[in-house]
Each structure stands twice: as structure tokens, then as C-alpha cells.
Amino acid sequence: MLRLKKITKVFSKGTVDEVKALDKINLDVDAEDYIAIIGSNGAGKTTLLNIIAGVYPPENGGRIIVNDREISGLSEYRRAHYVGRVYQDPHIGTAAKMTIEENMAMALLRGQPRGLRVASNKQRRELFHAALAPLGLGLENRLNTLVGTLSGGQRQALALVMATLSKPAILLLDEHIATLDPRTAQIVLDLTEMLVKRERMTTIMVTHNMEVALRHGNRLIMMHKGRIVVDMNRGQKADLAINDLIVAFERASGEEFVDDNILLPSG
């Protein structure tokens, strides 16, 4: 479904600040995969998502293939057809000065040509209503509310619905619950689970939370210094505890695990 071949990304090339964020990554993702990616800061997790989304191209020789079609050369807006994304910061996934309805109308046309039809009509409003109702946040009755007046959690839930509204083949979640309070984080996580199952999207979720990584998804990947050091399938990760993960990481990377951040259990 999604194949990454020899993906390398170097930042500040040729300067003293040169960083190899991704180091010849090869990754085969099946259509039904729901992958959780963990790793310490600077491991290259977000860079990997950025490469898939087309924010910047991989170094020469790297290839990104979706359903047998090479998309390495496509710019970010042209890949939107395949890729939906939710960011860590709820402000990035939604437009503050526009209403919920206008945001949803934007999202509905993901990757499609936009024309001179009025962007929202009765039929589309009903669709938005139906998509927002399962959140249980009452957003479906506030379609004319400006998004800037919503709370961070509400905006993130909206961002998730918007990212999946037009059913992209691939869903990228970039620590999308990291800034939310525990209760809201749980709501958004449950919603994620529901949407991923219902729409059968290939999902890649970056998280700092080992417990979330263990409990969600059918595959777990650990990254370290731009490489994939651990790749477990559902069977391998089923009975693991956080400690086992740390041991697995240390064995694979040959380094002691140091990231206080990542040890925090979910609240």
C-alpha cells in the first residue's frame, strides 16, 4: 500500500549543524496497518511524517510509493488526495477565523478541484452534522460558530474529523493527543480508533506515550537517530509491558534508554 525506499533526509546540509534526520529508511506499510511510532526526541518521527505528506522531498534516491504509484515528486498539496493529517498543535489543523461549517467544507474537498460553486449547501450541512455528531461535543449544532472560539480539545476533535472526512487512503497522526488534557485525550483517542476502523484508513500515529503505543494499532515501530530499530506486529507486542519495550529498545539500539518524557503513563 505505502512503501518507503531508502528515505534519507539531511537538514542544514554542509554546515556544522548538519543533522541526518532520516537514515536510509525502508518501510512497507500494508493497507490495513495501524502503526504506532515511538522514539526519543530527534529520532526522526515527525520528519518521517513530513516526508510522507510531502512537506519536503527526500534526498536523491529515496522513493515513496502509494498503491504502485510513485509520489515522491508530488508537492504537498497534490498529495493531499492520499494523505490526511492531524498535528500536535490543534491550531494547525483548523482555521480559526472561519466557521465550523466553512472548515468542514474546506476539508470535504480534499484533493479535489475547487470550483465556483457555493461551498456549502443543505446536503453538505447534513453530511457535516452526521460527521460531527459522534463526537458527542455538540459541535454539530454550532456549525456557524467561529473555530477560534472553541477549546483546544474541541479543535483537535474537529481537526481529526476534518482530516478523515473525505476518507484519504493514509492518515498521519503527529502526537495528536500530546497537548490535550487526559480526559479530552481519551475522547480523541477513542474517536481515532473508531474512525480508523470504520474508514479502514492506513494509519501512522506518532506518540510519546508508550502505553498508547502498546494498546493501539496492530504494529509498533521504534525509531532512533533516523533509523527504525524495532518493528513489532500485533502478536509480538500483544503481551508486552512498558519495561519490555525499553529492554527491546536498548537491545536494538545498543544504547541506554533516556527520555523522561516517554515514560509518563497516560493519565
Partner: protein, 303 residues
Amino acid sequence: MLDVVGHVLSFSLYEGLVFGFVAIGVYLTFRVLGFPDLTVDGSFTLGGAVAAVLIVNGVNPFLATLAALGAGLCAGLATSLLNTKLRIPALLAGILVMVALYSINLRVMGGANVSLLREVTIFDQVSEFLGVSTRIAYQLVVAGVLAVIVFFILNWFLRTEIGLALRATGDNEQMVRGFGVNTDMTTILGVSISNGLVALGGAVVAQGQGFADVGMGIGMIVMGLASVIIGEALFRPKGVARLLLAALGGTFIYRLVISIALRLGMAPGDLKLITALLVIIALAIPYLQKKVQREWLPPAARW
């Protein structure tokens, strides 16, 4: 006395409508797109120059006005291409095109100004068509009809799928690109439309005053900003339609205040200084308020 009040009011209304095109253009770039576009001073004059020269050469004044709008579109296209394709910061791109337009306007007019005194303008045609000879009456009709047309087109356009993408570009460019919008295209579209409107304003103003002059656009950007700010402060608009009306309303109030000040003896040469001070005050107030409340604000953007 009543006569004077009536005259000042109706004249301000006329000016509010024609300069309202500039305000709406400025609103589109500064507020909707978040693109501080300084091309305006040049494209306003360009509109006046193109319309005047075409009329002098016997072109139908309506066609000449339309051509002026087209010329403005091209000016906006130039600025937005510099910004999106050559990555020149928006402010600098606007200044570059504005300066270049000064020479272009001189070339278009073949001199510093073009007189329309004995030429048939859109005002003369409408006056003849309606059989109305009172100057202010047909001036208001022309400006009013044009304003209504522009208002309805923009009010519709900004709600369309493309219009929504354009507004979202100014609101959250990263998000909108993630949804498959080519934000270079929406920026180019918005800045072009904005300058087209500004040039339309220039064309109508030139025909109203009977001449185009190479200096007629100086300070237009500040005037447009002042009008937008006044409109926002007075009408606190929400929604596309009201924002557009607020830009027109703001221009009317601005021109009204200026007319009154001129009648009370303000030297016309001081106009731009007063306008600049007005905008400085309006921009500084929100910061000073927060400073008094000891809220932190980041340093102003340098670009």
C-alpha cells in the same frame, strides 16, 4: 446651511463608494489573505492612466474602465508572482512593483497627466442615458451601481469553494495546503483581484475629477487601511457580507471627516499626514491597551 450639509454628505457618499473599491482591495490583501500589499499606490494610478489614455484615444469609456481593471489585475499578478515564485517578501514585492509602476504610468500617459475635460466619460454617458444633469446625482448613480455590482460578486465569490480556499490561505496556510489547495494560486488570485479593484477605483476617480495624474495614487494604501480600520472599529463586522459593507462604510466615514476638516480650513496638503497619524493611532491602541494591562506581546514582525 442645510445645503452645505447635504452637499458634504452626498459628496462624501460618492467618494466613499469610489474609494471604497480601494478599501475593499486593501481588505482583501491585508485582512483576508494576510498579504501586506503596497502595490496599491501604483495600481490606483495605473487604473486612472489606462482608462484616461484609452478614452482620449476614442475607446468606449466603459471598455476603458474594464481595461483599467484588467491592468490592475496584471499589476497584482506581478507582485504575487514575485512573492510566490521568487520568494520575495510580500512587503518588498509590493514596493518593487509600485516603484516600477511609476515609470510604467508615465509611459502609459506619455507625460505626468492626461486631461479628460472634453472627453466623454462613463459619467457623461450615464448622465445622457438617464437624462439627469445634476452632477452629484449621476455621480452617485455610477458609483452606486458599480459598488453594488462589486459587492454582490465578491460576496458570492468569497463563499464559493475557491473563495473559501482563498480565505483559508490567509487564515491557516499550512492547513489549507494539507487539504490540497495550491496556496500559491490562491495568493496570486487574491492579490490580483485586489489590485484589479484598486485600479477600477483609479479609473472611476480619474473620470470623476476629469484627469489622470501620475501622483494620484500616492498614499492610497494608507487611505485604504484607514478606511478598513475605521469600518472594523465602528461596525464590528462578522461574516463576509458585513466585512465588505464595513469597508465601504469605513471609507464613507473617512471621506466625510476629511471633507468636514477641509471645509473647516485644513490645508489639503496636510491630508496625508493626518491620515497617517490616524492609522498609527489605530494600530498602536491595541498594543498600548495590552501594555497597560501588563500583557505580553511579541515584537512586531519586521516583514
